[in-house]
């Protein structure tokens, strides 16, 4: 088994590793299959985001179990944790947080290196495809499980000619803990 983790991370434990290129190629294959299943690119984008959401709701459990972090006191903290601990732990890349709005409810995650999109070139007819949309879904799913309802969308995409990947995260609301049982049962 391949062992190792991100080189510079302090708190992130090293999870068991797999060859990144297998991951990249498998993801590419999956995107291609989705494109041939759905006629409409918007549908593919939605499907990718939905898949990411399902992954995120389970991934956050593993993250919380393995990373030794204290409770986040604000959305700012949360964004930092996602960028500097969660992404390195799972994808061995780190991101920067930037472009905060004055309310502190919106920020951007900036990635320069994205293992999902290595070796990829987007042809003209798939200009509308948000290739990395699964990542947007993962962040949305993970944060929803810790009671933060967010919206994630891609603002910059290196596959479309920009110079970095920028994911804009907008906090809609903090939800209180919802108990699955009613009090009078």
């Amino acid at each position: 088994m391949l062992r190792g983790g991100p080189a510079g991370a302090r708190n992130a434990p090293s999870l068991e590793q797999i060859n990144a290129e297998v991951f990249t190629l498998t993801y590419g294959s999956i995107v291609r299959q989705l494109i041939s299943d759905f006629e409409d690119i918007e549908e593919v984008n939605k499907q990718l985001e939905q898949m990411g959401y399902n992954m995120g709701i389970r991934l956050v459990d593993e993250f919380l179990a393995k990373a030794k972090i204290t409770r986040c006191s604000s959305f700012r903290d949360t964004a930092d944790v996602v960028a500097k601990q969660a992404l390195p732990m799972f994808l061995n890349v780190s991101a920067n947080v930037a472009n905060w709005n004055p309310d502190q409810t919106e920020c951007s995650l900036i990635l320069t290196d994205n293992p999902l999109a290595d070796f990829v070139e987007l042809p003209e007819e798939y200009r509308e495809l948000k290739y990395c949309n699964v990542l947007a879904g993962v962040v949305r799913g993970a944060l929803e499980m810790v009671n933060m309802e967010v919206e994630c969308r891609w603002v910059s995409d290196m596959l479309k000619g920009d110079d970095c990947y920028e994911l804009r995260i907008k906090l809609n609301e903090h939800r209180d803990e919802r108990f699955p049982f009613k009090d009078d049962d």
């Binding site: 797999i18 290129e21 991951f23 061995n92």
Partner: protein, 202 residues
Amino acid sequence: MNARQPPKHSLNIVDRPLSKNRSEVPTVSLSAFAYLFSEYIQYLVDRANSISELEDRLEKVGFEVGLRVLELLSYRDKVLRRKTDVLDILRFIHGPAWQYLFGKTADDLQQAANGDDEYYIRDYDLLVSRYISVPRSYEPFNPGTLAAGIMRGMLDSAGFPARVTAHFVSHKDRQRPITTFMIKLEPSVMQRQAYLEAAKKG
């Protein structure tokens, strides 16, 4: 939305140098892969009408990966000779290719007793299916089909068309069943093999 500018690179993607041509292989966590894989299987379960369709689609994903993996490995390999012998390509898959894909060589390579076009490769603990459990209602389904697809892609890309299927075989010494891949090479390959051997002797 404004129209985006055309990409700044003027080179085609295949002309660009492989930036990740480092000596050690970059990695991501197995969890990331496992989540992606299980999510895709979930997506397929919802859409496929039968187990064999499910397996076919999963195998197709692996096939495309395998095509590209072989090209990548051949490009990076110091020796640039193409493999023309069946045993050579199988040993390559069992050894360097498995090592690259899953971090260790496969455990067993065996020729079937009943035909020289059938071979078995075994892996005692297939990395990709470690976190997948198959319920009884989906019994014949094997998530190792993804790896079977990768192997078929590699064999096809190398010029050895074959059928590869994955099976679980329970072993008395091990808790989890072993994944066995059955590789059945096509008759055209066997004909060519026989021709090559005759040419070598004659």
